[in-house]
Symmetry: C2
Subunit: 506 residues, 2 copies
């Protein structure tokens, strides 16, 4: 019967991740992909609820750190983009020749974001005087306004964020939550007096990312991206990557130190304590619905999703057993519901008049962390039966049930963290030994694109290029965790504790 | 000093409403209108917080009535619009000749929404195969999906809602919250088995609208819109209008009974209990950021905003007095803050080191309902001083302060409701006597476009047209509140209790 139930719902085995993932997001009713624009899914209530719970964690972090929520317009007039283009061009040119960007002249022809955005050029039957585009991110609209708002040092720091829909004209294959064309997006933008203050903000961002990913039970790798993979206009970009079960890394968050590079393009200045005009220093911090993609991918199993309790739309599903035999059953189920809600647990009674087996499969697929069953025999024992989605089942007392269940939810979070860590770590290998033959690296064993390789690396850009070309993989950048002891850089042979990872990125 | 403070902030007198309104939305820091697209304002944190509190009330009503929250894509492919155009054209044609819409053939050339939307025809450098538009509302994207989701009577009712950004290519003059091009929008869409069930939904919507407007302290007029002002595809449209202080009415909510008219265009059918195929019946219910516009307009005064406590971002501002003299002051201020938060009050201590007068003006402008002052003398009396934004000031005990303040908040809500009712009712007049001369109505006294006229009316469409043409005003439709006794219809002379209003609508 069990197998029949699963087969009916058509969940592929998770070992076939590239089939499992797109199937489970629809089977668990997170989204519907049949909307007639590829990469723009319809968020179903269950998926949307999970996403808003994730947003809730983010908002509470923003609140705790004195960021204020704004909402900027979606449309950006093309002429505002000119500043951004000049910035991108200037930095690109600077990096290509390895000199200070500010010394370089501007290449007016650089397209910047223009190739990656949706354009609005018509309102009704009219052609607009200035074409507009749908925001891919909000530097341009925000910094245009910041330059109106900031006058003096007393206006700083300015700490803003918004949670909005953004758009990318994506030409690669789309995948729910991971690569979409309308993106549910979080972005924090801050403005500071000087580089040091901006650096402190980056440190605060780093802590928030770890707190959020901890709540979502997502182990991750923190790397300072290589310069060629740095966000346009950033001095440096730090990224959090999650290792998905197919061995690809998914970038789920980034924070960027801009120094004063954007400020110079947007003429973002303030008057300091001495009355002198100074350029501001800026940072941004971004995350998206990819967090949900990582949750789905990393925690789910052959039976369906497993939600971390912190963002599970329903944390405990209550199953009345044989309620047609004893009226007490529903009375007790409601009492349990009320006890759990009192301690803040999101719960629901499943009183549908269908076979219990079918109910079990439904909630298993939807990844509800805890199932509580209550039947006539349990009532006479003053007990109920608790089943954890991560495995395990026992009979527990109805006394002090709320706190008991809270402890089980914590237990599940810890199990998810441990399991995810085992999966992630299990896909990391040391890079095999290599030698250079005809300008290419030859490895002692085959490089797989479904594994992540770690390596001591202290080389320059062309060393990095050699590594990427020879493996077909991408360097994630200098890892925050270094080696405990000094090792030989795989290219230069120099002793270093610097660690990098090579991986196929989403 | 007081006048100087006000003058500095440049608030026009509220009697000059058309200057006061656009000024106060910026002075109170709700929005910034300097974004370079007219009608697309930047939501500042204070305005956005108020809007999300309004959304919170709406969400809790939706939750209570078993509606589920979705999020549909912003972009709609043009070819989906064809169905909608055919519907609109069919109904328009039917109404023009006064026959049953379903008997009529379709006019393929009707532009429908096409003239009022923003078009996306380019992605990057590419022209898109199918042009897309930014949703003005979501009937088309939603009903396209509903027809995939609904198969049988067991799938009904389907009760959905979303809170999203929508867009209108607005050519009239824009005004913050009232007429904008990017609209913060709430829309509920429901699908039912038959007309009766849909009618029951409309009744539920009516109650929700009243509950929400009560929370916002907004008196309102409920009217069934005349047929020519009915939403395209609706059998009938009911609207809630608020009377603004300049004598114009602002439509803040509508609910539409569609019968099966949209279902026929979208082929939205279900299999009933007998296995027969039936068309669904549908309703929608919409509101927007206009609710905030009504709050600003109706409750504010010469000194600034007055927020209804239910949606005030800060309900109580705490002012420590002479805290440089006594360290106790800040201790007590924090104790008060904590006592108020315990009973769920949104509060904040203003410990800025500036003149108390300046602080008072700031919070007066921002419309914070209650100010609490605590100084050394209050502490020794175990008291603090409470000032209500609606007027009144007294010394109250620190004991049981949370509950005392909750009662004051209720008092303020009641005062706002009463004041708003006085303002609204004060702008309603009986329509002056009239006689018909040369096919036009001549009134015994001049019709003003800054008043609302009520009248007994039971005429037909051409009678209504005569009224609108002769007054230059618009009929709001048949009012839910009827006259207690029968009166003579102003045009036909027939006895009727039916009431209508003539007004200049926003």
């Amino acid at each position: 019967m069990v197998d029949q139930g699963k087969a009916k719902r058509g969940i592929p085995p998770k070992s076939d991740f590239n089939s499992w993932y797109p199937a489970i997001v629809e089977i668990a009713d997170l989204v519907d992909k049949r909307y007639p624009i590829k990469g723009m899914d319809v968020w179903k209530p269950y998926g949307w609820k999970a996403m808003t719970l994730i947003d809730g964690i983010t908002r509470s972090e923003m609140d705790r750190t004195d960021h204020y929520e704004y909402s900027f317009p979606l449309l950006v007039p093309e002429d505002l983009l000119e500043k951004e283009n000049r910035l991108v061009a200037r930095l690109k040119a600077a990096r290509d020749v390895g000199v200070d960007p500010s010394e370089l002249r501007i290449d007016e022809d650089d397209p910047g974001f223009k190739k990656e955005v949706y354009w609005v050029k018509h309102g009704g039957d009219n052609e607009l005087e200035v074409p507009m585009f749908l925001r891919p991110t909000s530097e341009t609209p925000m910094y245009t306004m910041f330059s109106l708002w900031i006058r003096s040092h007393a206006d700083l720091p300015l700490k803003t964020f918004q949670i909005v829909n953004t758009f990318r004209y994506e030409t690669k294959q789309t995948r729910s939550f991971i690569r979409v064309r309308e993106i549910h997006f979080f972005e924090a933008h801050t403005v500071h007096k000087n580089e040091d203050d901006a650096t402190k903000q980056i440190e605060e961002d780093a802590k928030m990312v770890q707190h959020i990913l901890h709540e979502l039970c997502l182990p991750n790798i923190i790397s300072k991206r290589p310069i060629w993979d740095t966000f346009p206009g950033a001095w440096y970009t730090t990224a959090a990557d999650v290792i998905m079960p197919n061995g690809r890394t998914l970038q789920v968050g980034t924070y960027h130190h801009y120094r004063d590079q954007w400020a110079k393009s947007f003429d973002l200045k303030y008057e300091d304590e001495n009355g002198d005009s100074q350029f501001c220093h800026q940072t941004t911090f971004g995350m998206s619905e990819r967090l949900l993609g990582a949750i789905v991918g990393l925690h789910g199993d052959d039976q369906g999703l497993i939600f971390p309790p912190s963002v599970s739309p329903i944390q405990v599903i209550i199953m009345p057993i044989a309620s047609h035999i004893s009226e007490d059953v529903m009375v007790y189920a409601k009492k349990i519901e009320s006890d759990l809600r009192k301690v803040g647990i999101r719960t629901k009674i499943d009183d549908r008049n269908i076979r219990p087996g079918t109910k079990h499969y439904d909630w298993e697929i939807k990844g509800v962390p805890i199932r509580l069953e209550i039947g006539p025999r349990d009532i006479s024992d003053n007990k109920c039966v608790i089943s954890l989605r991560t495995g395990g089942k026992e009979s527990i007392s109805l006394d002090n049930l709320g706190n008991t269940v809270l402890n089980y939810l914590d237990l599940i979070s810890n199990t998810l963290r441990e399991n995810a860590k085992v999966i992630s770590d299990g896909m990391i290998r040391n890079l095999p030994d290599s030698s250079i033959v005809n300008g290419e690296l030859i490895f002692s064993s085959k490089i797989q694109d479904d594994l992540i390789y770690e390596l001591p690396f202290d080389g320059n850009d062309s060393d990095a290029e050699l590594l990427e070309k020879s493996t077909g993989l991408t360097l994630l950048g200098e890892c925050e965790n270094t080696y405990q002891e000094q090792l030989h850089c795989v290219i230069t042979g120099k002793l270093t504790n610097k660690k990098q990872h090579l991986a196929k990125m989403y």
